[in-house]
């Protein structure tokens, strides 16, 4: 009989004919780590191989899951090699846990599939995009219907909290928008004066800056501010309601969530958008004046006169239309990702992220489309 027992080892092996005896001894603890199993591996691979394996735990003092783990590995090795295994010498408690782990190993999920062919991947993606587009159009349709019901007063009894939504979208956005618009106007003025001065046209700068602010910058800063502030809040609020099954509760009592949750938010943003653009325009022009007069030494009267010459209704209307569109886009993005968030624990965070990214992208896309449209209609 050959026995391998290292001093202090908790695992020993000995071979007698076709029987491999595995001895367990001492204290087994996860915090002390697992005993080296190289001797056991060698003994199992020996030639000629053993036909039977017997576990002997008479010298075992204390044990924990580390023993169950090793017994499981011995069991697996014996199964793989077709060896007969006798576990009767192992502690009954460890055997019960081992059985419990094996007993619950049911094929809860199917076997892993091979990677699908590229054509299937492309096809599935295309179907996914088409379904997603259909879902977005469905959302747009439902929102339009809800807006219609709201405007004709059919949802008045719901207590929509529309004034609050207006206040949140409007007054709540003023401080951050003031800072962004004032700073953007100032930076634009500085750059324009510096660059046009090199060409001898510094006095054209106030005109250029005023037109850019009215047509573009005021609306764009408003859109970005709304996306960051309201897109995220709307998505978070609605996603939290979905996770808490509040929207299901609304449907059960016969209230369409689009009437109560979506339409007031979208309408409030679409209405406040142009008003906020006016405010951003004023602050932007003020910023450009402050920089032009304060930093670049342009006489105030000249700067104001040149600016006023560029302030036409046409430019203002272009900016205001963009304000309506950006408010609508931000409202739709926040509400869409909020209501479509799913119910998982991470749903709210993902909804907010998707809403803000989509709102910012949507604002830029809408800006591009409207700019091209205004060029076409000579606005």
């Amino acid at each position: 009989m050959n026995a391998t027992v290292l001093p202090g080892s908790r695992l020993s092996v000995s071979r007698e004919g076709d029987l491999l005896a595995v001895g367990l001894r001492g204290t087994w603890s996860l915090r002390e780590g697992l005993p080296p199993a190289s001797d056991l591996d060698c003994a199992l691979r020996a030639s000629p191989p053993p036909r039977r394996v017997r576990v002997e735990g008479d010298a075992l003092e204390r044990w924990d899951s580390s023993l169950v783990l090793v017994l499981g590995r011995i069991q697996k090795a014996c199964e793989d090699r077709g060896l007969e295994l006798d576990l009767a010498g192992a502690p009954p408690g460890a055997l019960r846990l081992l059985e419990m782990a094996r007993g619950t190993v049911v094929p809860l999920v199917g076997p892993r599939r091979e990677a699908p062919p590229l054509t299937e991947v492309i096809g599935l993606r295309a179907i996914g995009w088409a379904e997603s587009l259909g879902d977005k159009l469905d959302f747009l349709g439902s929102t339009s219907l809800a807006l219609g019901r709201m405007l004709v007063g059919r949802t008045r009894r719901l207590g929509l909290g529309f004034p609050l939504a207006l206040q949140d979208a409007g007054v709540g956005t003023l401080p951050i928008l003031a800072f962004i618009a004032f700073a953007s106007g100032g930076i634009l003025s500085l750059l324009a004066l510096q660059q046009l001065d090199k060409l001898g046209g510094a006095l054209l700068a106030p005109n250029l800056v005023a037109i850019v602010i009215l047509r573009e910058l005021g609306a764009l800063t408003t859109g970005i501010a709304l996306a960051g502030r309201l897109g995220s809040v709307n998505a978070a609020e609605l996603a939290t309601m979905v996770v808490g099954e509040e929207t299901d509760a609304l449907r059960v009592i016969g209230v369409d969530p689009f009437d109560l949750l979506v339409a007031p938010r979208v309408l409030a943003l679409a209405l406040m958008g142009p008003l906020l653009v006016l405010y951003a325009n004023a602050l932007g022009l003020l910023g450009s004046l402050a920089v032009g007069v304060g930093l670049m030494d342009v006489p105030a009267a000249v700067y104001i006169e040149r600016t006023a010459a560029a302030l036409t209704l046409k430019h203002a209307i272009a900016g205001l239309v963009k304000g309506v569109a950006f408010g609508f886009v931000v409202g739709m993005a926040g509400c869409y990702y909020g209501l479509r968030s799913g119910r998982s624990p991470g749903a709210v965070g993902k909804a907010v992220q998707a809403a803000v990214v989509t709102a910012v992208l949507g604002v830029v896309v809408a800006d591009t489309v409207l700019t091209l449209f205004f060029k076409r209609v000579r606005l």
């Binding site: 924990d64 899951s65 419990m100 094996r102």
Partner: protein, 250 residues
């Protein structure tokens, strides 16, 4: 000289902000027992659990483990004591960005020097023990609430803790799944020698696994009963305790 009880609560006063939730709590838990903390909603069961596992500092009183104060020593002492615990929070409280396997493995990796292969094998074993074999690579958001709770139990038991705290482990489970939890709790006590502190209002679970229970009363804001749950149900002098454990029957 007698050995100190595994857990001893001395004159504990629990507060939530400036509001006293419970006062005058005093009890001991012996090794190898399933000890239940029960009581009405809002009675402070969860608050007591948070104080016992070192998340909240008591306003007054002491929590002792084998005679060593949880809050009397240094931060390092407290961290060392906490390695003796496994905690299952209601719902599992799993890390949502990690797979179930990683949720369990992270705990093992942090507190042992096992090789990575052993860490992952042990994590798989722990998941298999609670019936989650095959779900190792799912994220918490991809499984239902009961499986999240099971995975939380696997994580709590990953290191074979000496003391296992379970908060409402059977909440939101169907009766069969709830009895499986009870079975696992018994196995942990009987086969791994764990001491279990169970915070629960599930009467079937209390009668099935708890050796001893205390009842926290929300009106008097203190512990009004202690004993075997079935005995308290039938013989407690406090009618609220009898009614609660009798399933609402006076």
């Amino acid at each position: 000289m007698t050995e100190a009880p595994l857990i001893e609560i001395r004159g504990l006063v629990l507060t939530r902000g400036s509001v006293v939730v419970q006062r005058g709590l005093a009890f001991t838990v012996d090794r190898g027992r399933v000890f239940a903390i029960t009581g009405q909603d809002g009675s402070g069961k969860r608050t007591l659990l948070r104080h016992m596992v070192g998340l909240d500092r008591p306003a007054q009183g002491e929590v002792l483990y084998s005679g060593e104060s949880l809050w009397g020593g240094t931060e390092e002492d407290r961290e060392r004591l906490k390695t003796r615990f496994g905690v299952l929070f209601a719902g599992g409280a799993l890390l949502s960005t990690k797979s179930l396997l990683e949720n369990v493995a992270l705990h093992i990796r942090l507190h042992t020097s096992l090789a990575e292969e052993d860490v992952l094998d042990l994590a798989r074993l722990k998941l298999a023990l609670v019936g989650l074999a095959g779900f190792e690579h799912h994220h918490p958001s991809e499984v239902d609430a009961s499986r999240r709770a099971w995975a939380g139990l696997a994580r709590a038991t990953a290191l074979d803790p000496e003391i296992l705290f379970l908060e409402e482990p059977t909440a939101r489970l169907d009766p069969l799944a709830a009895r499986r939890v009870d079975d696992v709790v018994r196995r942990l006590r009987d086969d791994l020698g764990a001491t279990v502190v169970l915070v629960s209002s599930d009467l079937a679970s209390l009668f099935s696994v708890a050796d001893e229970a205390i009842f926290l009363d929300s009106e008097s804001k203190t512990m009004t009963a202690r004993g075997n749950p079935a005995h308290l149900r039938d013989h407690s002098p406090d009618p609220t305790v009898r009614a609660f454990l009798g399933g609402g029957q006076p």
